[in-house]
Amino acid sequence: MNENEPKKPGGIYSKKVMEHFMNPHNWGRMENPDGVGKVGNPICGDVMWIYIKVEDNRIVDISFETFGCVAAIATSSITTDMVKGKTVEEALEITNKAVANALDGLPPNKMHCSLLAEEGLKAAIEDYIAKKKGKKQDNQKQEK
C-alpha cells in the first residue's frame, strides 16, 4: 500500500478494499453448486463459504457467503471476480498474495483474510473434484 495515499474512506483500508466491501460482487448462497468450500473459524471472526459452478472444466459461476470483517468481505468479493471464467487449473494458481495485491494491499493483521479466500477457493474446487469422482464411480457402479 502506498503510504502517501489518502486513507479515507475506510481508515486502515485501501480504496479498492472499501469499494469491494461497500459493493461486494457475487455474494449470496448458490442453488445446486458443483463445489462448496467452507473455511474459517468463528473464534477468529471470519468464516467464508465459496460456491462454484463448473462447466467443461471452467468455473462459469462463483459466489460467496462471508461472516467477517471488512477485509474478509472484500477479499471474498475480489476472489470471485478473479476466478469467474477461469479453468479449474488456472483458479488453483491464485494465491493469497495475488488476492491482496488485487485489493491494492491489506493491513498486515488482515493478511489472514486473503489466505482464507485462497483456502476457500481451493476447498470449493476440491469439493467439486471429489464430487465429480464420486459421480464417475456412481456411474461406473450403475453401468456394472
Binding site: I43, G45, V47, F67, C69, V70
Partner: protein
C-alpha cells in the same frame, strides 16, 4: 457526525479549555519555585485539589493528580502491593477489568511472583460476591474491582464488595473511570481505599487523571523524583491539566442530575427501537444495573467491524466488541466472560452516548443500522434463510 463513542473519549467542555489556557501562557511558573508566578500555580493546583476532594467526598490530601487513568491504576495496584509484601503476594480482581488493571496484575505475577485470582461474572456481567468471599485469603493484599464496565456499562455492587473486603481487612481499589460523570460517585461512601479516574472520559483533558488513596492505606509511590503531590507522585505538576480536570469534574457532576437523565432516555430509546426493528439482538448486560449512557448489543450472524465501517460511512461513530478493531483475533474478553460465544461477541456493538446527542441522531442510527444489518446478514453463511431478504 453522530458521535456515540463517549466511553472511548469525550470532547472537552469549552469552560475546561478556557480555564486551562492561562496556565500554558502567562501563568506558566513551576509550582515548586518560590516567586509569585509559582504561587499562582500552587494556588490553582490546591484549589483544584480542594474542589475534586469535595465532589468525591474525601480529603484533599487523599487526592493525587496523575498523567491519566492508566497511571492511577498502575500506581494504586503496584503501590499498594509493594507496600504489603510482608503480608503476602496475592491479589483478587475480575475477568472484566480494563487492561490497565489486568496488565498491571500480570506484571506483578510475571516479575514479582504474585498470585492473581480473576473473579468470573454471570451472564449479566456482575461478579459473584460469594466467589469473592471464598477467594479472600490471609495473604490477600488487594482486591481490585471496577465500578462501571467500559464495554457494557454494567455497574458492580462496589459498596457491598467494600464491606466484604473491609471485614477481611484487605485494601480495596476500584477503577471508577467509567462511572465519573455518569452516576454519582462518593468515594467515602463507596468504601474504597484507592480509586482511579481519567479526565478525558468526562469532558476533561487527556493526559490527566486522579488517584484517590485513603489516608493510611498501604502505599509506596511508583513515580519517583521529588516531593510533589504530598510525596505520592513525583514530577512537575501538569497545572493546566489539573485545573482542567477539576473544572470538568465540577461540571460533569452537576450534569449527572441535569443532562444524564436526558441521555438515559435517548439510550433507552435507541435500545428499544433496535430491539423492535432488528430481529435476534441481545442487549449485553441488559438485565444488570448500567450507567445511563451505554448500550452494548450483540447482533447475531454479523461481524462488528463490518457494521462499524458501514456506520462510519454514514457518519456514525461507535465501537465494537470484535477483535478486528483491536488487531488481535480474539473478540472482547468482557463479553466472552459473560458467556457469549465467539461469533456473537464478534457481532457486538457499543454505543456510548454523550451530551451532544439528540433524538434525531438516535433515530437516524436505527434507520441506518437496520439496513446495514440486513445487508450483512444477506451475505452471512450463519444467517437463517428466513432472516434473509
Amino acid at each position: 457526525m453522530i458521535y456515540l463513542d463517549n466511553n472511548a473519549t469525550t470532547s472537552a467542555y469549552p469552560e475546561v479549555v478556557e480555564a486551562m489556557l492561562p496556565f500554558f501562557t502567562e501563568k506558566f511558573g513551576n509550582p515548586s519555585s518560590l516567586y509569585e508566578l509559582a504561587q499562582q500555580q500552587k494556588d490553582a493546583i490546591e484549589s483544584s485539589r480542594q474542589k475534586v476532594a469535595e465532589i468525591l467526598g474525601v480529603q484533599p490530601k487523599e487526592i493525587v493528580f496523575t498523567s491519566g487513568g492508566t497511571e492511577a491504576v498502575n500506581t494504586a495496584i503496584i503501590g499498594s502491593a509493594l507496600a504489603q509484601q510482608e503480608k503476602g503476594k496475592y491479589i483478587i480482581t475480575s475477568k472484566i477489568e480494563h487492561k490497565a488493571v489486568l496488565e498491571t496484575c500480570k506484571f506483578l505475577q510475571k516479575y514479582l511472583g504474585y498470585e492473581i485470582t480473576y473473579l468470573s461474572v454471570d451472564s449479566s456481567g456482575v461478579i459473584d460476591l460469594d466467589e469473592l468471599k471464598n477467594s479472600i485469603r490471609s495473604d490477600t493484599v488487594l482486591v481490585s474491582i471496577m465500578y462501571a464496565n467500559n464495554e457494557t456499562g454494567v455497574i458492580q455492587p462496589i459498596q457491598e464488595i467494600g464491606k466484604i473486603v473491609k471485614q477481611a481487612n484487605v485494601p480495596f481499589h476500584s477503577d471508577v473511570v467509567q462511572a465519573i460523570g455518569k452516576i454519582p460517585v462518593n468515594l467515602s461512601e463507596l468504601g474504597v481505599d484507592y480509586a482511579s479516574i481519567s479526565g478525558h472520559k468526562f469532558h476533561g483533558p487527556r493526559g490527566i487523571g486522579i488517584l484517590y488513596r485513603r489516608k493510611g492505606a498501604p502505599f509506596t509511590p511508583l513515580i519517583r523524583g521529588g516531593a510533589h503531590e504530598n510525596k505520592m507522585r513525583a514530577g512537575t505538576e501538569n497545572t493546566p491539566g489539573i485545573v482542567g480536570i477539576a473544572t470538568a469534574l465540577e461540571i460533569a457532576s452537576r450534569e449527572i442530575n441535569n443532562k444524564m437523565p436526558e441521555i438515559e432516555k435517548l439510550r433507552d430509546r435507541l435500545q428499544q427501537r433496535i430491539l423492535d426493528e432488528i430481529p435476534e439482538v441481545i442487549v449485553n448486560g441488559g438485565t444488570a444495573p448500567r450507567v445511563p449512557n451505554t448500550l452494548n448489543i450483540a447482533i447475531k450472524y454479523v461481524e462488528g467491524e463490518a457494521m462499524l465501517f458501514l456506520l462510519d460511512n454514514e457518519g456514525i461513530l461507535a465501537s465494537s466488541g470484535s477483535a478486528c478493531t483491536s488487531g488481535s483475533l480474539e473478540p472482547s474478553y468482557v463479553l466472552l466472560a459473560m458467556g457469549l460465544d465467539h461469533a456473537t461477541a464478534h457481532g457486538s456493538l457499543r454505543f456510548s452516548l454523550g451530551k451532544d446527542n439528540t433524538q434525531q441522531q438516535i433515530d437516524k442510527v436505527v434507520d441506518v443500522l437496520a439496513p446495514i444489518v440486513q445487508k450483512l446478514r444477506n451475505m452471512s453463511p450463519f444467517c437463517p434463510d428466513e432472516l434473509k431478504k
